[in-house]
């Protein structure tokens, strides 16, 4: 048996075995320590004739042949539908109940994220995903819409007051400029916080960089068109 291993090779093997132990700890009827000992012996046996010192490069094909830890078969588990059904019930109640609706919708979205975080580790089936996604989509769409039009009402009100209370074309154009500039600011925020946006949008596959680009272009076009209208009506 080869005794000399480089530190990289030792670290690589330990990481693989730790990951395997973690995966096996969720499997019924399996003793993770026993399996890890067997795997370690297997690797050493495979590399018994390898030239010393064993490097991470020499080790890698052996680990590939063994397979990723995540590929180990797990016995079928009873699917727990209850958390996803509770989330969906909260969502439906939130839609139907007017007075407490918004609170229930927010609560159902937070609960949906909690269930996702807990169950994704063990594998969440597509069917249960359908119960968890609606509150997340609705809340996400609501927050996105609120952010997009946030400056419209205060800006419109201030500008209308300055124009003597009437909503003129000039006021509309000025609101358009404000909105366009605001979307460009939002685009910059989304572009700098791409990971945060992706985390907030999870499990929806949002491409934050693409959203930022489109927001910036649309904002610039709206601001330019509104500015042209503003100078035209003056």
């Amino acid at each position: 048996m080869t005794d000399a291993w480089t530190p990289d090779a030792v670290n690589r093997l330990n990481r693989y075995l730790d990951e395997m132990r973690r995966q096996l700890s969720t499997q019924e009827g399996v003793n993770p320590d026993e399996v890890v000992d067997e795997l370690r012996a297997h690797v050493h046996f495979e590399l018994r004739d390898a030239r010393a010192p064993v490097t991470a490069e020499t080790l890698e094909p052996v680990l590939s042949s063994l397979g990723a830890a995540a590929e180990s078969p797990a016995p079928a588990r009873a699917v727990d539908w209850i958390p996803a059904l509770i989330v969906f019930a909260m969502f439906v109640a939130g839609v139907l109940l007017f007075s407490y609706g918004p609170y229930l919708l927010i609560l159902s979205a937070v609960a949906a994220r909690a269930v996702l975080a807990r169950e994704e580790r063990d594998g969440l089936s597509g069917a249960r995903m359908w119960l968890l996604v609606p509150p997340l989509v609705l809340l996400g769409a609501g927050v996105a819409a609120a952010l997009l039009v946030a400056p419209v009402f205060p800006a419109g009100e201030i500008l209308a007051r300055q124009a003597g209370g009437s909503l003129t074309a000039g006021v509309g154009a000025a609101v358009g400029i404000t909105l366009g500039l605001w979307w460009m600011v939002l685009a910059a925020l989304v572009a700098t916080g791409r990971r945060a946006v992706a985390w907030l949008a999870h499990p929806l596959p949002i491409d934050a960089a693409r959203v930022a680009r489109r927001l910036a272009v649309t904002g610039a076009l709206v601001a330019a068109a509104s500015a042209a209208l503003f100078f035209f009506v003056r």
Partner: protein, 92 residues
């Protein structure tokens, strides 16, 4: 379990024998959790023995319950294979 039929083998040797089988798609790392589960279910028995080539090896063999289960599983496999063969030959 068929690999252990009538013989005692250590883990690496089981993997080596399975590796040689044509058409058997199994990741080698899957063999050890399966052995551990079979042991928990009392279908195989493991004993640690010193090896002249290095560290002690764990040898596995079928228990009487394991041999019985293997016979049942092989019978089921034979029936299924026979049914599929019949279906393929158009006799059904």
């Amino acid at each position: 379990m068929n690999a252990l039929h009538g013989r005692r083998l250590y883990g690496y040797d089981i993997v080596r024998r399975l590796r040689a089988l044509d058409g058997l798609v199994i990741r080698e790392a899957n063999v050890y959790p399966i052995l551990s589960r079979l042991k928990t279910e009392g279908l195989v028995h493991a004993t640690l023995e010193q090896s002249p080539e290095g560290p002690a090896r764990k040898y596995y063999e079928l228990t009487p319950a394991g041999r019985l289960r293997l016979t049942e599983m092989n019978d089921t496999w034979e029936r299924l294979a026979h049914s599929l063969r019949t279906l393929r030959e158009g006799d059904l």
